[in-house]
């Protein structure tokens, strides 16, 4: 798995680099990361670790495992720092891509990967805040994986279409198509949710 992951991270770094203009000059910040400057890496960790943690815990559920995966994400990024190229995208897309790879292979059972969004992670807080949010979480969990990943990265974690494409290793057009398809499905699911809730309540009553 290590060899595969290593190659995958390199391809990911290249994909992020190749997603924009052909000619580039690395910015000082990216150069500092590539040279493994401790201060630059400290800033990167402090800036991005909370977002990576939210992404990972939404998929694995366990805080301990999420912590481990976040530190491993930064470790992998650090190991492959020289492969990272600055093409106008922040390192966040790169980190999300690494976190996605690590989380997908974490506790993988045959062809089953961890879900894109675990309902138990958001269930209680969503119920307390707004029942519609719980409906939304359920609808996202029911989406096809490729669509759900786009929704989660684009809208839950706030990545741009370019960053999402880089993190997923796909094209920006594919991201735009998936987000349109996924949002339509979510809209229909949310419209149907109150009736479903009412039906469930009637059955239980």
């Amino acid at each position: 798995m290590a060899g595969f992951a290593s190659g995958a991270f390199l391809r990911l770094a290249e994909a992020i680099g190749a997603s924009q203009s052909a000619e580039w000059t690395p910015s000082p910040a990216v150069e500092a990361l590539r040279n493994r400057d401790p201060i630059a890496w400290t800033h990167l960790f402090e800036r991005e670790a909370p977002a990576i943690y939210r992404y990972v815990i939404a998929r694995v559920g366990s805080p301990e495992e999420a912590e481990d995966l976040v530190s491993r994400t930064f470790e992998e990024a650090w190991k492959h720092a020289e492969a990272f190229e600055d093409r106008g995208l922040p390192p966040r897309a790169w980190l999300f891509g690494i976190a996605r790879h690590l989380t997908s292979s974490h506790r993988r059972r045959l062809f089953r990967q961890p879900p894109v969004l675990r309902l138990d992670v958001v269930e209680q807080a969503a119920r307390e805040r707004d029942p519609e949010l719980l409906d939304l979480a359920r609808a996202i969990a029911r989406l096809p994986r490729a669509d759900a990943e786009v929704v989660v990265l684009r809208f839950v974690h706030g990545l741009s279409a370019h960053e999402t494409a880089a993190a997923l290793g796909t094209t920006v057009d594919a991201v735009k198509s998936r987000q349109a398809r996924a949002l339509r499905k979510l809209r229909h699911a949310l419209e149907a949710a109150p009736a479903e809730r009412a039906g469930l309540a009637a059955k239980e009553g």
Partner: protein
């Protein structure tokens, strides 16, 4: 990608709060609701733990690099090329000393001999050969004995010591004195060939 997907993307990325198309408006609203999903956030203690773990892992992988990888210029702080070339040359000299193998010695023996030779050479170049010290003069040893036993001691140290006697002693006292210096001014006498006890 269809036109609708592109228009939706533009509606999502621009700050226009009310896109003209009602379906676009509805989808933008769904996207904005999605941002409100209450995901757990890491506490400062968790951030500190993750950071500490990351630093430990990085330190561990730094130390885990083998010498070969380090020599190849891998690792977080690659060594300068000059150092790597010098190390490579030294390693190659040891590893490829096939002649020494043919002669029945291992490359490590050969390397050890080179080291011994270097040490001997340095000792030989030292004035007084390290034997002119007070300790060597007063303490007889088998290595010193042959020079005293030689019947032609003046030949052993023919160069007179240019240092004046009253010059400040800089720790090389006995240079030119002691065994060789003392023998230089003496006429050999019978019984001089006795080894000191």
């Amino acid at each position: 990608m269809d036109d609708f997907a592109q228009r939706l993307h533009e509606a999502l990325t621009t700050s226009a709060r009310h896109p003209p198309d009602p379906e676009l408006m509805a989808l933008v609203r769904v996207a904005r609701r999605t941002r409100e999903l209450p995901l757990p956030t890491a506490t400062p203690a968790q951030i500190a733990r993750m950071r500490r773990r990351f630093e430990e892992r990085v330190r561990g992988s730094e130390g885990g690099l083998g010498p070969l990888a380090a020599w190849l210029g891998l690792g977080p702080r690659p060594r300068p090329l000059v150092q790597r070339v010098a190390l490579g040359a030294a390693a190659a000299a040891i590893a490829f000393s096939g002649g020494s193998l043919a002669a029945g010695t291992t490359p490590w023996d050969a390397a050890a001999r080179v080291g011994t030779f270097a040490v001997d050479a340095v000792r030989s170049l030292r004035p007084g050969n390290g034997a002119g010290s007070d300790e060597a003069a007063t303490t007889p040893s088998p290595t010193v004995a042959p020079s005293t036993a030689t019947p032609t001691p003046a030949v052993a140290e023919p160069t007179p010591d240019p240092t004046p006697e009253d010059e400040e002693d800089d720790g090389q006292r006995g240079r030119g004195a002691g065994i060789s210096g003392g023998d230089r001014d003496r006429t050999p006498e019978p019984g001089d060939d006795r080894r000191p006890e």
